[in-house]
Amino acid sequence: MRPGSEPTRVAVALCDCLASPGDADELTALCASLERTLPDVRAAVVPDLCLYAGRGPALAVDSGATRLVLGTSADGGSPDEIQRRARRAGLDPFAIVLVRLPRACVSKQGSDGVVPRLAAAVARARAFAGTTPDQLRPRLLAEGAAVSRFSLLALPPITYEPVPSVAHRRCLGPGRCGFCVQTCPRSALAVEDGRVVLDKQRCDGCGLCVTACPTEAVSLPGSSLAEYGAQLESLLGSDEPAVLFHCRKAVGLDGATGGWLPVQVPCIGVVTPGWMLQAVARGASAVGLTRCGPECGCPREPVVAGRLAYTRDLLRLLGDEAAADRVRTVAVTEAGLEPPPRLPSFGRPDASDAAPSLAEPAATAEALLRLHESDPRRRVRLRAHRASPLGLVRVRASACTVCGACAAACPTGALRLEEGAEDVVLSYDATACVGCERCAPSCPEQAAGALAVDRSTDLIALARGRTPLKLEALARCRNCGGPIAPSAMLVRIQALLADEEHAGPLLQVLGDLCVPCRGSTLSAGGPRLVEAASRQPPPARLNASRGELWP
C-alpha cells in the first residue's frame, strides 16, 4: 500500500478443511491474526468452501470487499466455477487470488508458511487494477470440465480467460520498439496500421509480452508487474524466505510447497533476471523456478536456462559463492518439491515501504546496484551475455557527430539528445538500456566506429546513471542566429565533400545559414549560389540520414 492511499478492502475465505481435526480454533485464530496484522482485511472460516466455491464471493460481497483471497485445498473449487459464482455475485473474478494449501495444514503444532502465503495473496489481490473489455476472451467450457453438474443441462457454460491489452498511448509502436511482437511465441501480436494489435484467439495469456514491454504499455489482468511486485514484497518480509516462481501449468504442486513460498506465474518465461536478483537482493535465501508440465511444450526452456545462467554469473561476480544453489530450477518429484537449500541470505531485507520494481531493465539494474552497495569499488563486469536484459552502449567521441540519430531510435530513452542554448549533449543511462541494438544501424558514422552496443553488464556504468557522452557546440546561423547543427557534424560534412568539385559555395551555405534562411537565400537573393548548388548532387542523396539539415 502506498502512503496516503486508502487500502482496498480484501476478504479472505478459508475452507474449514485446512484445520487439523480437533484444531478448528487454530484456523479461527489465524483469521483473527490476519485481520489484526493486515489493514482492512475481513477473514472468515467458510465451511465446505472447497465444495461450494460460491460462498467465497458471497462473503466478499457481504463484507463490502472488492478483492478476495480464497484458501482452499488443492482439489477444492474449479477456477471456472469460482469465476461463474463470482460474476453472479457481482465480483470481478480476476480480483480473486486462489491459494492452494494442504488439507489440515493449520494445527496446534503450527501452520508453516500459511500466513506469509495468505498475506502475500492479500497484497497481490490489493494491487489488482481491474479488467477492461479488451482483456477478456470468452470460451465455452469443454465437455467434462469441472463445473457444476447443473450447468451441463443447458448451453455449455462460458468462462473467460485473461488476455493482454496494449495501451496505445504508452506504446512506442513497432517502428521504435516491437519487443512484444518479437517475444510472443504464438504470433498473437501483430502490426496493423502501424499499431500493435492482439489476435485474442491465438493468445494463450502467457504474459511474456508484459515483461518484454519497456514502457509497461502491455497489461494482463491478474498478472501485472504491480501485482507480482506487491506479492514479492510481502513474501520477502518473512525471515530469509525461499521464493519459488512456478508456472500455472506445473504439475504435482498439490498445495504443499516444502518450505518454498510460491508465486504462480502464467509462464515461467515471464520471470526475468531482474525478478530473481530483486528477490536475492532483498533477502531471499533462495530463488527457485518450477517449469510447466511435459504436455505444455513450452518454447521458453532455452530462454529460462539462459536467464538462470546470467543471474548466477552475476551473483558469482558479486561474491556469492553459493550462487548455483541459490538460484536454480526446482523439480517436482513423486515425493513433492525439492526442498530449498539452507543458505544464509546474500542480500538484505528492504527497510523501505517500496515494492520491488520488476520492469526490466530497471529491475536488474536496481537489484545489482543494491547488491553492489557493500563493495562499490569492486569492478563487476559481465561480458556480453545473450540473456542479459541490460545492454551497454559505447560511443567513440572522436567519431560521433552528435547528430542524435541514435537517440531518436532508442526505444527506452537510454540515449538522449538535449539541446541547450549554446551546445548539444548526447547522454546515456545504462540502467535504461535494453541492448536492443536499434541505435547501431541508425548511426551514420557506424563505419567509423562511432557507436557499439552489446549485452554486457557493467556495474560501474550502472552506478554512474545518466552520463554525458559528448558535448558539442552548436553552430549558429549568421543571418538569424538560429541553430544550424552541432559543429562536429558540419566538420564531418566538410570532410566528406572536400574532394567534390564546386563544393565550396554549398559548404559555405551549409556552415553559415540555418535551414529556413538557406531556403530563402537560395530562392531569392543568391543566383550565383543557386547556380553553384544546382551543379551539386541532389541533397536527398547527399544527406539522406540527416534530413534536418535540408529544407
Partner: protein
Amino acid sequence: MTTAPATSAPAPRSGQGSSPADLAELRGAAFELLGALFCYPAPGDLAEVVAAARDFPSRRCLAPEFAFFPPLRALCDRLLNLEESDLGGLEREYVTLLLVNSSQGLCPPYESAYLEREGRERGLVTIAVERTYAASGVALADGRELPDHASLELGFLSLLCDEEERAWREGDVDRSLDFLRREEEFHELHLQRWFPTFTRRLARAAPPGSLYGLLAEAARAFVVHDGDLVRMLLAEPPP
C-alpha cells in the same frame, strides 16, 4: 472476523434455461437497448427505453454470467432512476457530446467519422454499410439518420440476433449459423473497427456519472464482448 454460517444453501443453479436461442435473445435485447439510447432522447422513446431497462436485468437470468453485465447493470440502474425533469439535461448532453459539429466534434456517432478519409459523411463507408443492410433484406425506414449511425448499426445487429434466435428455436442450425456469420462479418468489417474508439472518447468526454458516460462504458463492454463471443461461437458451434 466471522465464521460464515454453515447452513447457507448451495449456490443457485447457474445457466438455468440457457440455450443458444436464449443467448441470441439476450444479445438482441442488449443491442436494441443500447441502439435506442444512441438516438436523440425524445420523450416518448425514452419511456420505452426505460421500460426495456426495467425488464432487462431481471428477466434474463443468463446475463449476470457475462463479463459485460456489470456496466450494463449500472446503466440500467441509472435509467430506472431517470425522471421526466431529467429529459432537458439529457437533450443538452446529447447535443453537446454527439451532435455539435458531428463530423468534427468530440465523439461523432458515425462510422464514417472514424474510417472515412477526413471523416467525410455519405462516403464509401456509408455506402458499404447500407449495402450490408440491403444484403440482409433490411432497408432504412426513414432518413432521419445516416446508415452508419451508432444506433442503426446496433439496431441492425439486434435484428440479426432476433433472426438467429428464431432459427435456433425452429431447430434450423444452418440458418442460425448463417446469421451468426453475418453478425461476425458486420462486427469485423464495421462495428469493431470504430465503435470501441468512439465509446472510449465518449466515456472520456462525458461528465462523471452522466447517463452517456455509463452508456459509453456499457456499450463498449458489450460490443467488444459480442465480437469475441460471436467468433467463439462460430469456432465452437453450440450443440
